[in-house]
Subunit: 443 residues, 2 copies
């Protein structure tokens, strides 16, 4: 019985992963019929365009470009995409430039500069397709004139250390960059611009994904200055950065492009893959397998082991009263939890989630819980995540493994490795964050 | 708009509270028609019984007894119930004995001894009604012969310090008690025994509620010894306790009554109020107000602020995609979270939950979140809990209150007091744990 539910869980996880596949995602949203291009149902007449350029940045860039080449290879003039070292594949027209992530390097900088130079030569009758995916922000590093990469990083490090939130970080970052906060779109204008995004951002806020290079920015130079002052580090940051921001505040250099700016009259932004899309794909698969499914939320955040307890609590209620859904039930959640490291073990947030859940569902024989990262690499491990059921803690104990000790040592990886319960997908070169499943069958 | 959702939340919470009301709960499950008594639809012919005794323990004991007197006052021979100091009300036939809680005292011991003495004189043609509610374990303290109250507490304190879990604690406790683990039922036999329980236990496991005085015990003297040895404190516990457990292991004194024991042939145990019943009552009210409702789980445990984040994440998903339920939506959860104290402020788990949630839903104007303890006293405060909406953090800020600082100082009470957002029900003298509500209206 449990064997079947476990297999179902793996199949449902796979269905979710497929929704994050860069090639499939491009082909789901981009269709071509001769000279007619349809992007999320919006038509473009290819004969209207002289040149077609493909640019972008992110770990899935090569795969996304490969799908675009399949569709539009005959029409592509040239292209350049920054990807993470090793995340490449053979392409015909689009050049792939490998660079470092998560810390940007000179290779990334050189690629980003070339992309902007390429875009600045585009004209009104050109079409630009921009491909954005996970890591796109660090892989498209282009500081504003007069600021070096190190100087730019210095500010963001200091803000992070002060506890600035993601919105504050982005407001500052966008105002010391030449690409973020809609500035890639400004470089591409007056060409037509289509941006396809694989989102690794909770909530898929367009201005947050890769710091929104093709999206109107709602923050200002004045906001950036206020944020730096709020954390009382204005005197600590470097002169080049201060001077740039002051010039912006004084109107000596232009603001980032804003909502309603004509730059955006000819742009289309499409999220072609995201956490919620993966959850809904998983839901569809679960339904087809006969489960009553519930997509709980793609916004899940918080300490991993406590989030796991809530998921286990839902499993218990399903068993006892059939709430919130009757068994056979599949509860699906996404988002990204955090792990407060207290031990020195090996693991990742998905594996820790499953270990914490295993303790709470111990003895409940018709419950299976799975959690996996869609990038295939959970924490510093070669596993995507793990799977457990009501017998996991007992099976572990028979092999001399103490689940509670492994949890308190943040040591889920060796625990699940020994049980052969790791999810081994290999790196997927894409990322729409995490996928969690709670399956409960009738007892 | 928000004002209406807030009022709805308060009304839904009230409906949940009503399900925990001791008098209403008794009357929901116990009906009388002349000489016919119906307990959860099971009939008893009152003319078959010579005497009717009412016994029990717990904070709601006086209220429950008052409802029983209304129904059966003319038939009650005598009765005695242990309640917490101050939790009393005027009764006609049943004596109320006030005692200490959560630490048992001599008054509780004296009352428990009288209850057992009363039950031991009952005969085959007598009917005993036992009323159990929150605090029933500490309010019915009766150590086994030869063990003093202090000696009994010594073991439990030492086990707690070692990190023993609730099942381990109960196995030991039941084997050094004269009342827990079905032993009250043994004292009542051969009389007919009806036990009405208001459950403050997650999952409503009958053998856990007040340590199951009227329920078969699945643990043994041998288990109790092994648990004490497992934590390597056998040599640390007092001789009287060791001797008692060894006598039990050697069969010199009887085991606690087990499943199938004839003692239980004439017993009925009914949970007349519990967390899930309160959640379902809240759901019914929410449905009647036009909400799409979802009972998430009555088993929720974990660190309060992280559990709060999961609830806020569900609100965000409802707003963005209408999952797991379409707005207007009401998500309902129960159980009991914990707070790891890091500050020196004033608050309780329900108030902390709402404060943490307020931070996550800041700016979402059609979301209201409420959390309250059904006992009316959240932590060491005079409030049951609190209520927040998408404007709470902003309103607080306008009054000079920093939500994040109050949260990190575990200082939710003054925060919500100043905003006039505390739930003030007054002590309810009953407890079916906590009730949380997430309401999301269409934007």
């Amino acid at each position: 019985m449990t064997a079947k539910i476990r297999q179902d869980a793996l199949d449902i996880f796979d269905a979710g992963l497929k929704a994050a596949d860069p090639k499939l995602a491009v082909k789901k949203y981009v269709h071509r019929d001769g000279q007619k291009l349809l992007v999320n149902d919006k038509p473009y007449a290819l004969e209207d365009y002289e040149n077609l350029y493909v640019v972008g940045g992110g770990k899935a860039g090569a795969s996304m470009a490969s799908a675009v080449e399949e569709l539009l290879g005959d029409r592509i003039t040239e292209g350049l995409i920054n990807v993470k070292y090793g995340h490449t594949e053979p392409l015909k027209k689009v050049k792939i430039n490998e660079a470092d992530h998560p810390l940007p390097d000179e290779a990334g900088l050189a690629g980003a500069r070339q992309i902007i130079q390429l875009l600045e030569k585009t004209g009104e009758r050109d079409l630009v397709i921009c491909l954005i995916s996970g890591g796109g922000s660090a892989l498209l590093p282009l500081p504003a004139d007069g600021i070096s990469l190190n100087e730019k990083q210095d500010v963001t490090k200091k803000l992070l250390a002060c506890g600035a939130n993601i919105n504050e970080m982005n407001a500052v970052r966008k105002h010391i960059s030449k690409i973020k906060g809609g500035q890639l779109a400004r470089a591409a204008a007056p060409a037509t611009l289509i941006t396809l995004m694989l989102s690794d951002v909770i909530g898929n806020y367009l201005d947050v994904i890769a710091s929104g290079p093709t999206v109107p920015d709602s923050s200002t130079f004045r906001d950036a200055k206020e944020i730096i002052e709020r954390y009382q580090i204005w005197n600590d940051i470097l002169d080049t950065v201060k001077e740039h921001i002051l010039k912006g505040v004084n109107g000596e250099i232009p603001e980032t492009p804003k909502e309603g700016d004509e730059i955006f009259f000819k742009t289309q932004n499409v999220v072609i893959g995201s956490n919620i899309q993966a959850l809904l794909a998983a839901e569809e698969k679960a339904n087809s397998l006969g489960y009553h499914s519930l997509v709980l939320s793609s916004f899940i955040e918080g300490e991993t082991k406590d989030v796991a307890r809530v998921h286990a609590a839902i499993a218990k209620e399903i068993l006892q009263t059939g709430n919130p859904v009757k068994p056979p039930a599949c509860v699906i959640s996404g988002g990204e939890t955090t792990v407060t490291i207290r031990g020195d073990g090996k693991g990742g947030r998905n594996q820790e989630f499953v270990l914490a859940a295993a303790l709470d569902i111990a003895g409940l024989h018709s419950v299976v819980i799975l959690s996996g990262g869609t990038d295939g690499t959970d924490g510093p491990t070669d596993a995507a995540g793990a799977i457990c059921d009501g017998r996991t803690v007992e099976r572990a104990s028979e092999q001399g493994l103490n689940a509670r000790q492994h949890l308190s040592n943040n040591d889920a990886y060796p625990f699940f490795k020994k049980l052969d319960d790791l999810l081994m997908t290999g790196p997927t070169n894409t990322n729409v964050i995490d996928l969690r499943l709670v399956l409960v069958d009738q007892t």
